[in-house]
Symmetry: D2
């Protein structure tokens, strides 16, 4: 089988999830290209080596610029904090590499646009890892919607709630600084919700939003695993420069009315990516914490027998599931990444595009920036006005 060489930039949480996907995809799925885990690139030599050894990356590197210029590398996997995405992706595209990029796409619409245009100009395959599209239940939801089972869609109600920073002593990691993250949950979480809404409902025309930062000053983080050195060690606390919560209402091009709530202050919600879609013929409900289930209301059932049914999306005929286990045996979070790699390899092999990609990242960022303007200026903002 033909092989393709992969280089991964980033060795933390996402580096691990992506490494597992590059390993498992060829085992569970029939793929026409076999990925070779060639280079792992991280800031720290020792931990990068350990990472490479664990996951089977053949070589290590600390300078991403050298990586993207290596002629033997076919695919650049970008698994590093958001603020570095643009430079890497643009350089990778200019070097003709295929791009597998973690989300959110960038820290601004302008950056995202530059990334998208660079990739298109270079005619490289590009994928943006809004992984939840490849949850079997969500892929099945899309199929049902395409088949018309929901009819005209009236509402999208999406929430994405977490609670990992309600403690005022949680430190000022990179996620809480605008220069590194671009925004708080508005980018980190809402970008997922907007991507899903675009996937399942359609484009957004206009938004209105309010955002909150509940805790404005936080202790500077020590140097350690999972945190990001801020550089200025002299002060005890620093300013949080992103939102702690972002609520948004949206008008879709097809007339649907939608709501989005994202927060890191929803005590008890760990990774609560939940949505409801209401249509003229039926409705759907999804909850990532029960990601193998999809709730479906079919208005064509006899009226007295209608109700939201819990479909356990584990049949071999459900999307992606045939590669895994028998009915009733659930899969988990990382399987979405495996699906993405399998599809990416297929797209590369067949010369077809894959979605979501940098275009989708750019379009979602346009919606999110419109919401930022809305929140700042206290007015409804047309998405098309964000340029």
């Amino acid at each position: 089988m033909k092989t393709v060489n992969v280089a991964i930039i980033g060795t933390k949480f996402m580096g691990k999830a992506h490494s597992n996907a590059w390993t498992s995809a060829p085992k569970f799925f029939k793929v026409g290209l076999k990925p070779v885990l060639k280079v792992a690139c991280g800031q720290d030599v020792a931990s990068t080596r350990e990472f490479a050894e664990t996951w089977g990356w053949e070589e290590t590197e600390t300078d991403w610029k050298k990586v993207v210029e290596r002629p033997d590398i076919d695919i650049i996997d970008v698994s590093i904090p958001t603020y570095l995405h643009k430079d890497i992706v643009v350089a990778a595209a200019q070097n003709g590499k295929q791009i597998f990029c973690e989300k959110p796409v960038a820290t601004s619409f302008a950056e995202a646009k530059e990334m998208y245009e660079a990739a298109e100009k270079a005619k490289v395959l590009h994928y943006l890892n809004h992984n939840y599209r490849r949850t079997p239940a969500i892929a099945f939801a899309r199929k049902m919607i395409e088949e018309g089972k929901l009819g005209q869609i009236f509402h999208w109600c999406g929430v994405y709630l977490q609670d990992w920073i309600t403690d005022p002593n949680f430190p000022l990691t990179w996620h809480l600084q605008k220069k590194f993250a671009g925004a708080g949950p508005h980018f980190d979480l809402n970008s997922h919700s907007v991507d899903l809404a675009r996937y399942l409902v359609g484009e957004v025309d206009a938004v209105t939003a309010m955002m909150k930062t509940f805790i404005t000053d936080r202790p500077l983080p020590g140097v350690g695993a999972g945190t990001f050195k801020s550089g200025s060690g002299s002060k005890d606390t620093g300013k949080v420069t992103v939102d702690d919560a972002s609520f948004m209402i949206a008008e879709f091009s097809n007339g649907a009315l939608g709501s989005f709530q994202s927060s890191r202050f929803a005590s008890g919600r760990k990774n609560y990516n939940y949505f409801e879609i209401y249509g003229s013929k039926g409705s759907l409900v999804f909850n990532l914490e029960r990601m193998n289930e999809l709730q479906y209301l079919d208005l064509e059932n006899p009226a007295d027998e209608q109700g939201f049914r819990t479909i356990l999306v584990t049949n071999s005929t459900h999307p992606y599931v045939g590669a895994w286990w028998p009915p009733g045996h659930i899969i988990g979070y990382e399987h979405e990444f495996t699906h993405a790699v399998a599809d990416f390899l297929h797209a590369m092999e067949t010369g077809t595009p894959i979605a979501p990609n940098l275009y989708d990242g750019m379009k979602a960022m346009q919606v999110l920036e419109a919401a930022q303007i809305s929140s700042q200026e206290g007015r409804k903002v047309s998405v098309a006005d964000v340029l």
Copy 2:
């Protein structure tokens, strides 16, 4: 026991629910005043007589003005469509009657203000029937919040979804005409959510909103049960002049960020009054369709043992429940009305106020009108600017 004479104006759905409450309250609760069901007042003689006979109202009347002027009547129960509330309540107050009024309070903030001021001027007891405050689970939620079990509240996420008009052939009943109803679900449903948010979280400072009318023309209703004659029988269809759905974001005075979604186009949701409240010490979730349950997340549990627990609010020590059945024996919708009547009689006996009342109705209406302005003008609106 001292008796008080009640007159009810309105004999449809709400007339039935209120009649049951006046009957059952003295049976299940210890009350110091015994209500006498004196007069039932409706438009139609025959159906009003049947109603009176079923429910034990001693007399019938078709002219509400005569009812509010009768010296033997102590309490006026207003169970009639919204657009008639103001005239009846003001007249009742001027005649010194105690007022038990159905929600939404009125078709505008101005009307609500006039009603409130008339009642205060007349020094009469007034109650506005946002009945859900007297769901045991919600009264218990209030108790928990007052005891500080949620700490600082970060979020209110409230939805109130129904689906009874998704069929384009559903006729243009009074609920769909601004002159009779004031607004669509924005008043009918959101008024409940705003009342609960004010009860459980606090006052709202500013809002931003979007509203939609999905079906703009509907067939005129025939003259029949459950509908309201529009007067103009010559045309086949008429304009829907209210919202079909209203989504709103709110800033609370205490810094919390809230969302509200109300719709009559949420297929599969019959009476889905649902809210989540997230605080620094805990969180609560309520769903009216499972109204005997309250979900509670306690952050003071050991981290590995935390989770939303489903409290079955049926202990004799839970609010109102002691009057009913043993633990695990649930109560239903109409019990909230019984609780309201029991509390109203107690307030009347003791000369104490009761909440919610016309003040609460007026304050909720102020929030709702701010949202209407926001939707029309595409801008964030301060509630205090609604005068």
Copy 3:
């Protein structure tokens, strides 16, 4: 409207529930006979008078024998502890009274048989209040099964779990003494489950069972509300002479295999009457603590769209619901009693039988006694062998 005179024997929990039903049935349902609440009969003069005043019973009495002999009484409502049922019901039948009797029917199959035969001989109407048959969701389940929607039934899995006596200091009330109660949860709770299994699945042929008494000695109760004087005040503790838990497996005549678990030692379960029915075409799940819901799995849905759907049984077209509130407005425990009274009055008016009745009580008792023998003798027992 023609009236019928009712006498109630028993003024505690069940007296209250029945009184409410006699009051509310004619208000919510069209009935051809109007019940007059004539006599309330209790042990204690003062509390019986208070009970009568609250609920509107015209007269009081302390001797049930006088009550059943009064010529002006049409209906005897038996709402008193189990061990008194037989004598009262037999006497009532012999006096030609119609019988509305609380469950469990009696303390033994022999008693139940005597009651049934007395009623049949006297040709009186008799009803046994296994109230759960008249939960709308259960009545609807029966309708679906009769329509063949489940096909051949393979399994009944019923549990009825409570937790009110896990505390060893809970006193030795009448419920815990064989001479008064006949058995523990095996009669109190399993009798409901067996009645529902007979209603929904069919007759039981054979059973095997195990029972446990976890706490064998308990403090004697003081004289007070909710307890029952045991007579022997000299000892500090007394023997529990009934089961604390009873588990049973059953073969049905139609080939289905069933399980029954009843317990008063299931911590956290207040009134958890829950069952699952599995058939060749579909399945049903019911939980009394969410009694307005019925879960339904339809095997005729496309395989990938199958799932248990939660039907909110609150449509006006669902059994009994039309008399109450709009869709999504739930009802509670006592409504089942109201339905029973409405149906009883209809049966009386039309001269038709009603189910469940003393025959059903006798048949359930036969199954339960077979299980008692099985538990004692460690063998499978045919129901027909209980004579």
Copy 4:
């Protein structure tokens, strides 16, 4: 790192699940021994080669006897239908191999005893893959029980329901023939439930049971994937010689009363391994289809705040979870196998035993055979009487 050579016997569903576990365990967990995937052994040359290539097994073999005799093999992984377990395990033990064996242990108690004794005599490490013990939620349940959080346990209520053979045209695969499978769901599913009950509650003293075979004749299977050649191709149908459903009641040594229901005729249940445990201080509920959740009722909460709470068992401090993803990111079915391999390698490295093992398999089989006798003879059977 020291390596150990693994040989796997069986290349179907379980071969795949085990192969993935041998691959992923060293990536996600710190292990002191590195497994080398040395030999894959299957009946068919071509499919075994394809299997080996996909999963990285270095060599293939078709004769298991040769495999267990190879001196370079350290671990024999038995992933083949039940009736072959005994011979392979005994031979592996006699050759001094460490044993990693799929469940159910064998087709009879006698076989299981022989296996256990052979392994003990050879002093080899042996593990029996009742994988569900290594679900984080179940391992956490065990921890809570060991800490006394449930107090005295009153009840085990376990069900394991599937629906894959309700179609009468489903063929007579090996699972439905006693000589190959030993029993139906009574072994396949109940063995899991009994293992969990022994793990969480304790040993079983006596049982009573009923079993059913709803469809007694089935078409013979063709030769194909997922089926097992029966040998006799001349007849059209063959006899089902195992149970289709098995219901059992059990007395535990510690006084608890338990129920077990297993069936392949529970329409809508795909892999519904569900249990409830009720104790004097708290209760637990688990559902494999939501395997990342554990419901917990804590009787030490204030009475009015008690309720079953849904713990999302995805904290880094929950058993096994630290190796995977952040809170709220769920894992799936195959992760249990990875946990088992990690623990097995650790046990091998440290020379400590692991559970469950062949002893546990033997003990579960003793309970299951007692139930078979009970069902056949219609009497309660002491587990100790099965010799």
